[in-house]
């Protein structure tokens, strides 16, 4: 039930078809064999509970069976054998289903009648109602349930209704809590607000719009409650507190078997197995319902995803111009291709990327989201997700190819040779450890410092990233820092190993504008004073202009242009660079309407033939749609992947 899912729903229509969700949900559920098996089993058990006492009327009151053949194992005459009084075990098992399930039903009805209305009220109304309900729930959670039920049973001996209703009251808060927390996000949704504004009554909104949306969690929790109630019911009947002899119940049958367990252990098995299977069916049903509703939501999230199957990937036909390698390049990517194994097959996300960074230089990778910038950066550190893989090409760091290195070798490089800064400073630090403790660990690891020395160096490190009052900051937990402070700490962490290369993935995106400038100042200072080499991934031309010597423009997995930043800013060659620069807010401080690039970045796996940018390009010709375009060097030493320059400048 993520915000994103709501947003997707909100786009289509104001009110997602609340009624329409439910049948779709059940269809999905019925597509899972496990769910079907559970439902069928439970239906059979319920059917037996209803009909067995009618079909076998004598069993419930049978005091004794064939006393000459007691405690016999299974035979043709008695399929499951006979009990201590010579009665047929199978008959008793079938008839005993009724009191057992009746007890569960009694508890369940109380749980549902109390849990759903109070949970909805707490979640929807909030405020004082929520707090009172929460208080009562806290109270009920702290009561040892079975003992209280026993207390009730000592006053109302043998009353299953009283006992199971008490149990229901004690279990209701668990459902109440689930309903409450499922209701909270629904209440905030747009269409609920719209319904409120349009004057629909509260009870109408809750019953028609909120309830259907929280039905998934209700089913999950109810099946768990039913499973628990079944265990308690059988337990209490095992203690002979609920069902009086001679009427059979599953728990009572285990008690009967327990009396003779030393001489004939068979008798505990049939009722025990049936109880276990029934609890298992309820539990598994809850699990599959939970999985299915999660799937329904994630399906909603990806509804816009084109379902085109990825064609088998041909070996990259492109032979880009070899990256100009100079001896002083610290990092060089050569023809790097990265692919991901997905449900739709192997999908290429980065294709033939080449660029290099000389020591002390700053290079920026720029492009829209989804162009493969971050994947490129992560592949350098060997940190691709488990389904990602470098398919082709080399990553040379200090002359060493990183693509073939085992994880252990790569781990030695991380932090020590290459530092990494992410875009979400607040979540990039461990929330339960003090800032100083975390930094000290990196210092000890990378520089082999003693505990004491590491503590001293931590303060020094925090001072170096200009955190006010480093001693105090070291004592703080991440949640006590502002976003800017947290990013400074993250930078300090990346510097702890004195790395030769710093990779910063959108280091300022999540920060306020003023803080962004401060962080950029800090990075520039590091670069100037310590000669740190920086690779920065960004979509912000301001960051590039501020910090970088050269830029690599990426679009849909490919480098479309690369070169020094001045000529790129003054005279962008690739239409995409041109469009990206044109939509840069820094260029139009006063503009009322920011120019945008029409269309969106195609997803990996559905890149167009020819130039990847051709569907959005104003200059596109048939040639652009026909065949892949090479990255070409133009006359003034610049490189671009575009047909417009291919012919003019190739000879230079």
């Amino acid at each position: 039930m993520s915000v994103a899912a709501q947003a997707v729903d909100g786009v289509g229509s104001l009110a997602p078809a609340a009624a329409g969700e439910t049948p779709r949900f059940f269809r999905r559920l019925l597509r899972r064999p496990l769910a079907v098996a559970c439902l069928v089993y439970l239906a059979i058990v319920v059917g037996i509970a209803i009909f067995a006492p009618i079909v076998l009327p004598g069993v419930a009151s049978e005091q004794a069976g064939d006393l000459l053949s007691v405690q016999k194992g299974p035979s043709w005459h008695h399929l499951l054998g006979t009990d201590t009084l010579g009665r047929d075990v199978l008959d008793r098992l079938l008839v005993g289903a009724r009191p057992t399930l009746l007890g569960v039903a009694e508890a369940l009805i109380v749980v549902v009648l109390l849990g759903i209305p109070f949970g909805l009220a707490a979640g929807y109304l909030g405020g004082r109602v929520d707090r009172s309900v929460g208080f009562v729930a806290d109270l009920a959670f702290s009561i040892p349930g079975i003992v209280l039920v026993l207390m009730v049973l000592s006053v109302y001996p043998g009353s299953m209704l009283a006992g199971m209703c008490t149990l229901g009251i004690l279990m209701a808060p668990s459902l109440m809590r689930v309903v409450r927390s499922a209701t909270l996000p629904v209440r905030e949704e747009l269409y609920i607000a719209a319904a409120r504004v349009s004057g629909l009554s509260r009870s109408y909104i809750v019953s028609r719009h909120v309830l259907p949306r929280v039905s998934g969690p209700i089913i999950v929790q109810t099946s768990l409650v039913a499973a628990t109630a079944l265990v308690v019911q059988t337990g209490l009947s095992f203690l002979n507190l609920l069902v009086s002899a001679p009427a059979p119940s599953w728990g009572g049958m285990i008690a009967d078997g327990a009396n003779v367990v030393v001489v004939q252990s068979w008798l505990i098995w049939p009722p025990g197995v049936v109880i276990t299977l029934t609890v298992l069916a309820l539990g598994l049903l809850g699990d599959t319902v939970r999985d299915t509703s999660a799937e329904t939501w994630s399906a909603a999230l990806h509804r816009s995803t084109p379902r085109r199957a990825a064609s088998a990937l041909p070996a990259s036909p492109l032979r880009p111009a070899a990256a100009p390698r100079t001896s002083d390049s610290l990092l060089a990517l050569e023809d790097l291709s990265v692919s991901f194994a997905t449900a739709r097959g192997v999908v290429r996300v980065v294709e033939g990327v080449s660029f290099e960074i000389r020591a002390g230089e700053s290079v920026g990778i720029v492009g829209e989201s989804g162009c493969g910038k971050t994947v490129t950066a992560l592949s350098i550190l060997g940190l691709l997700p488990a389904n990602g893989d470098v398919a082709e090409g080399r990553i040379l760091f200090g002359g060493r190819d990183l693509t073939g290195l085992p994880q252990r070798e790569l781990a030695r490089l991380r932090g020590k040779e290459i530092g990494f800064i992410s875009q979400e400073p607040m979540v990039s630090l461990n929330p339960v450890l003090r800032v100083g403790t975390q930094l000290a660990e990196y210092l000890r690891l990378h520089q082999g410092l003693s505990r004491r020395e590491a503590r001293r160096q931590t303060i020094e490190l925090l001072r170096r990233v200009h955190l006010p009052d480093p001693e105090l900051t070291a004592m703080r937990y991440p949640h006590e820092l502002s976003g800017g402070m947290a990013q400074r700490v993250a930078i300090a962490r990346a510097l702890a190993g004195e790395p030769r290369l710093l990779i910063a993935d959108e280091p300022t995106t999540a920060l306020d504008v003023t803080v962004q400038a401060e962080i950029l100042d800090l990075l520039r200072e590091l670069q100037r004073d310590r000669g740190t080499t920086i690779l920065i991934v960004t979509h912000d031309w301001g960051v590039i202009a501020d910090l970088c010597d050269r830029a690599v423009v990426m679009y849909a997995g490919q480098v479309v242009e690369r070169g020094d930043i001045e000529p790129i800013f003054v005279d962008p060659l690739h239409p995409y660079t041109e469009a990206l620069l044109a939509s840069n807010p820094h260029n139009f401080p006063e503009a009322e309407r920011l120019p945008t690039i029409p269309g969106s970045v195609p997803r990996p796996g559905s890149w167009p033939t020819g130039c990847h940018f051709n569907p959005r390009c104003t200059y596109a010709t048939d040639a652009c749609r026909a065949a892949a375009i090479q990255l070409t060097r133009t006359g003034n030493g610049r490189e671009v992947r575009c047909n417009r320059y291919d012919r003019e400048c190739v000879e230079a």
Binding site: S142, I143, I146, L413, G415, G419, L429, R434, E441, L445
Partner: protein, 349 residues
């Protein structure tokens, strides 16, 4: 930045409830409490214990008043003379109004007197004193087994993934589904009757023999703990996977931390927060489990005593044991709250 007080208020829940009418000294007290979560947290739990104990202890009085007949009739049977009946009613205090009866009980309870059994006349505190060691041994051992095995298996399956993870998932489902009392019987059949490794029933006090104590408790503790081990393993696995998939672990890895530190120092500490809560809930569930398991293994603990008292309508004993169980729950919750506060700096101001 969020002020400390608001942060504490939001994480601890009901901070704003008392906000509006707070007078100056009260506000000072509140500020003090929010700055000292290690005072605030137990205090809240103890304050919650008051209504809790009230509900549990008064319930039986209310229930009894709703039913025909009374304890005097239960004790004397139907053949007693009206004089005898009236006299016993007086001596049991049953002729007083309900709230007086409750008040008397409460007064005595504060003096450590929980009344006497209707049946044997034995003091309830004595009955409890005889059963408590058995029940506490059972619960403590079970909690240790659950914590060690559950967390261990959970971490192992999260770190190893794949088949191990699916096995833990399946085993935890099965552990949840098998009723403890049935499992106890199976254990008796296999390990006591067939293999004769452990005694089938009975309890040997620790003071008598440590090895026999362990031997007499092994099967009951196993029966009690296996469901919990499964539940905690699953919870630990999920919490560990959550932690391992989090951004701070990715970034810690990106900056060179070795797997050992990632798993056991960074991920486990975060994962332990929900696991501790689960362990607390589980301990409370174990209290209920002891009632059944003690009956299966014929251990004369509180659970067996309370069931016996229930079948004989011996209300003072049932009530006394209910109060003791509630107190145990209060203590468990207190410990869980403190552990939670210790582990989770976001709760602390």
């Amino acid at each position: 930045m969020v002020s400390d007080e608001r942060l504490a208020a939001s994480t601890l829940g009901r901070g704003t409830a008392y906000g509006r009418a707070a007078t100056a000294p009260f506000r000072k007290l509140r500020a003090f409490l929010y700055r000292h979560p290690f005072v605030l947290v137990p205090l809240r739990r103890l304050l919650l214990a008051v209504p809790l104990l009230f509900v549990v202890s008064s319930l039986s009085f209310v229930l009894v008043s709703l039913t025909p007949g009374d304890a005097a009739r239960e004790i004397l049977g139907i053949n007693a003379t009206p004089e005898e009946y009236a006299q016993l009613r007086r001596s049991l205090g049953l002729n007083l109004p309900l709230y007086d009866q409750y008040w008397n009980w409460l007064r005595h309870a504060f003096e450590g007197n929980l009344g006497a059994s209707f049946l044997s006349g034995e003091k309830v505190t004595q009955v409890i004193g005889s059963g408590l060691p058995v029940t506490l041994s059972l619960i403590l051992l079970a909690v240790v087994v659950v914590a060690v095995l559950g967390v261990g298996l959970g971490v192992f399956s999260a770190v190893r993934g794949g088949v191990a993870g699916r096995l833990v998932d399946a085993a935890s489902m099965l552990g949840f589904a098998i009723p403890a009392f049935w499992l106890g019987l199976i254990l008796i059949v296999v390990f006591a009757v067939k293999l004769n490794w452990f005694p089938a029933i009975g309890y040997v006090p620790l003071t008598q023999s440590a090895t026999e104590w362990i031997r007499s408790l092994t099967l009951p503790v196993l029966a009690l703990a296996i469901g919990g081990v499964a539940g905690v393993a699953r919870q630990t696995r999920e919490a560990m996977l959550d932690a391992l998939n989090s951004e701070y672990i990715r970034m810690a890895r990106a900056n060179g931390l070795p797997p050992r530190s990632l798993y056991f120092r960074h991920a486990l500490k975060n994962a332990s927060i929900p696991v501790v809560t689960q362990l607390g809930l589980l301990t409370i569930a174990l209290l209920g489990g002891t009632v059944l398991v003690e009956n299966v293994f014929a251990l004369q603990g509180l659970g067996r005593l309370v069931v016996g008292a229930t079948t004989q309508h011996d209300l003072p004993v049932v009530q006394g044991i209910a109060v003791v169980f509630t107190l145990i729950v209060v203590v468990v919750n207190l410990l869980v709250d403190l552990a939670y506060t210790l582990l989770n700096p976001r709760v602390r101001a």
